[in-house]
Each structure stands twice: as structure tokens, then as C-alpha cells.
Symmetry: D2
Subunit: 145 residues, 4 copies
């Protein structure tokens, strides 16, 4: 995977700076923990406003985490092109996240073509059990070079 | 569709009151415009914090609208059971919403079983063109009777 | 929807002839019943080899029906371009089809762009109840003009 | 993963025998190569009848492979219950499979609950490149114990 065609164009610091500039409303939501070509780990602390009755993290919150994770993984490979847009997402909510611990999203870019990118995301609650709470796949349409 | 098994258990006023009580953080986001058994229209005004670069409404915002729409349609049929939870969503983002106009989501409940409900959502920008900007399908797992 | 940009380029006879030429292995599976711009109805007779235990029509059979339906709807609008390919499908299987009756698939093209088309499909068993047995959404990548 | 709750109830030989008995029409399509609790590899030789114009393996063929793979993984964990049924599938077709080589599907069961199971599938063409041609996620509804 790490051939010259698949080298990083932005590192974690550059991605965070880009988010703060272009998406200030979400730039504080996540922290990039690991980044290698085609693979990324982002972490989202669980906050009160994201909770549903029974202490469940909301679906939209997990969608946002998955969407941001793939977006950052794509930008890390193609550079700071804000206009990459999500065209499709499928997401499965499998278990109730544990309360009071961070959510972790592991992103794999499965395809990075000229016009489309596909990323898989597995979301789990930080802690000893490491069980998946959600999975998602997103397709991004990439702007013309 | 309107047989006795498919009568409304909550009307729009009851649904709005339920949202304000249980989900104050989202209760102001949407307004129910039409509600008949198995079918619902909700409207969401577009606000600045939902915009992405280029004026596009964010994917998470449209996901939230679709998710809330199916949730309200399900509750209208089964009554105020907060613990209905989304288990799956597929969503396609097809066009850039027009700026400065409300988003409208039309929800069809395609299945309302004992343990699962499936709802289809078509989202469009209010205005003369009426073109779809997104579509989604959500599955809800229903609490035991 | 029926503006000049959205006129039919192939009618039902032309589509059937195209299938027989290019996809002889599936050309007998379906019959086009209705075709207007952006909308199509195809019918598939249920055959023994498609049945699962308990008389259920198999998932792959319904997938094939949905895929073919959107493919034909796309070709009807863009002409005989065999290389349009499916890039994504989400499908929900909601009820057991009734046995001994045809399956009907109603296709709506929600988007027909230069490079992507999105079609929605609702599948139901022919008969008095008209209940949906499945729904699907497919994205096709279109060959360059 | 290999705790007592997650032990195999059927091995590869038992699964093949079950397929031959219950689904003779598909039992020759696939071969189980590896099987451990919650994880399975199945292989499908590419045959002429599955090809589309340009030599592409058809979408329905890959859907069938993904569906069978998750079905077998579920049965390996819950025993020979033919009535487990697919309720949802999302599938992304990412690259053209190489011609003349087998398709390999790696299945991960991400959730095995009382009533629902969720499995992820990655499909690739056997050969030196090992690039993914498709991915899918399927939900199965499990019969009552």
C-alpha cells in the first residue's frame, strides 16, 4: 500500500490546521491518533449533547465521526481539497456504546480512484472489551485534479 | 394502509411535545408539516452551522433530518417509546441543496413489524424545482411491547 | 421530468433486443411492463431455482431484479452503453414474497448525472395485497460520453 | 473472540453437507477455505455465465458470494438453521475483478446477537495484487432459539 502513489500529502498537524480553518464547527470534535497511508484512527470524546435517552450516543454523532474520519483519510492522500463530498454512506449501529469513554474510529481507504474514494470505518468504545459499536462505509466524490 | 392496525397513536402536537421533553437538543430542528398513518413530512430550516465549504449542507445534517423523520413516523404509529433505536441507514447525497431555503423530508414507512421498522426518506430543497438532494433508508429496532 | 433532457433514447423493444444481444443469460428473466422517462416497471416470474427453504425467493434473485431494473432505466435514458456498471447497492428485504406470483419492480431514477446515476427500486408480489417485499437503491457509474 | 460463547457449532465439512442438502443450486458455487469462530474465507471460481460485457464479473454474482459467505459464517456459530434470512445488504463494487482467477471473500462477523447478526465481507481476486474488488455488509435475522 505504501508505494509512491500512496504517500501522505498531509500529516495530522496539517489536517487539524485545515479543519480549524475550513470547518471550525467540527474541528474540536475529533483528534487524529494515528495516520499512515490509506489508514487513519480518529478519536471522539463523548459529550452530553450527543446522548440519547438511556445514555446511548446518537446515530448522527456516530455518522459525523465516520464521515469526518473518511474525509480526513482522503485529504491526507490527495491534499487540502475542501470540495470532496460524500455521495453515499451505509452505517450499521450494532451495540450501545459504553458511557463515559471515548469513541474510536478506525478508517481504511479501500479505494482511492481519480473520481471516487471508498472508506470503511469501524467504531468502538475505548476500553478493555474493544467491541464494535458501529461500522460504516462512505463514498466520496473527488474534485477534478 | 389506513386499517385499524395502522392508525396514528400520536399526532404532530404530541410528537413535538415528546421531542421537547426527551430530546431538547434537537426538538427545534424540525417541524412536522403533514402526518397520516405510515407517512410524514418534516421540514428543517437550513442554518449557518450546518454549512460546508461552497454552501453545501453537511451530510450529518441531512442524516439527522432523515433519522429524526423516520423516528417520528415510527413513534406516530407505536406511541411514545423513546428506546426505538436506529440499527441501519443507507443514504445517498445526490445534489447540492439550494442555499437559503428549507429542506423538506418525506418519510414513507415501508414496514412496521413487531421488532423492526423500515422507513424511506426523500429530501428536497423547498422551491420551484423540487429536485431530490438526498435519499435515505433507515431501519429501527423496536422495543418489546 | 419529461423535458427534452429527459426523453427516452430506447423503448422497451429496443431494451429487450439489447439484453438478448449483450446479456443472453439474463434476458429471459424479466419483462418490461411500463416505461416513461426516468421510470420503469419490470416483472420477474418466480422460478423454482430461485427459491430458498420455506419458499422464500432468494436475496440474490431480488438483487438481480433490482440491478437489472435500474440498468434498463439508465439505458433507456442514455442509449445502449453496455459498460455502465453498478458501483453501490443498498437493499432491504422486508417481507417474504408470496409464492406462485410474479415479482414486480418499480424503478425511479432519482439522479441522472454525467458520471453517476441513482435509482430507487420497490419490489412487491403481484396480487391484491401489494405489499413491498424489498426495496433497493443502486448507483451506476456511467461511461464517458 | 474464541470464548465458549463463540465456539464453532459446525465445521467446514458440516457446512458443505448442509448446503448440498438444503441449497443444492448453490452448493457447488463456493468452497470454504478457512473457518475459525466469527471468521470465514470462501472462494468462488469465476465461470462464464457470471461475466458481463468487458469480462466483468456481474454484481449479482458478487452479491451471491457475499450473502453465502455471511450465511455460512452465521450457521457455523448457531448451527444448521436454514431459516436465517438476510434483511439488509449494502455492497460497494470498487474495481473490475481480474479475469481467469478465483474470487475470494473474507467474512468477519461483527455482531452475533440473539435476533440479529451483522457480517462484513471483503472480496478480492486471487493473485499477487490482492486488491479489493468489492465490499459488503449484510444483516441476518436469526430464528428464535
Amino acid at each position: 500500500m505504501a508505494d509512491p502513489l500512496h504517500a501522505l500529502k498531509m500529516d495530522a498537524a496539517a489536517l487539524h490546521a485545515f479543519l480549524r480553518e475550513e470547518f471550525p464547527q467540527v474541528s474540536d470534535l475529533v483528534e487524529i491518533e494515528e495516520l499512515v497511508p490509506m489508514r487513519l484512527r480518529v478519536v471522539m470524546p463523548v459529550r452530553q449533547e450527543n446522548l440519547r435517552p438511556g445514555g446511548t450516543v446518537s446515530g448522527p454523532t456516530m455518522f459525523t465521526l465516520a464521515d469526518l474520519g473518511v474525509y480526513l483519510a482522503v485529504l491526507s492522500m490527495i491534499g487540502p481539497k475542501a470540495l470532496a463530498v460524500t455521495t453515499n454512506c451505509s452505517i450499521d449501529f450494532m451495540r450501545k456504546p459504553e458511557s463515559g469513554v471515548d469513541l474510536v474510529a478506525d478508517v481504511d481507504l479501500l479505494k482511492l480512484g481519480r473520481s471516487l474514494a471508498v472508506g470503511d470505518v469501524r467504531i468502538w468504545s475505548r476500553g478493555p472489551k474493544c467491541r464494535h459499536v458501529a461500522r460504516a462505509t462512505l463514498t466520496y466524490s473527488l474534485p477534478e485534479a
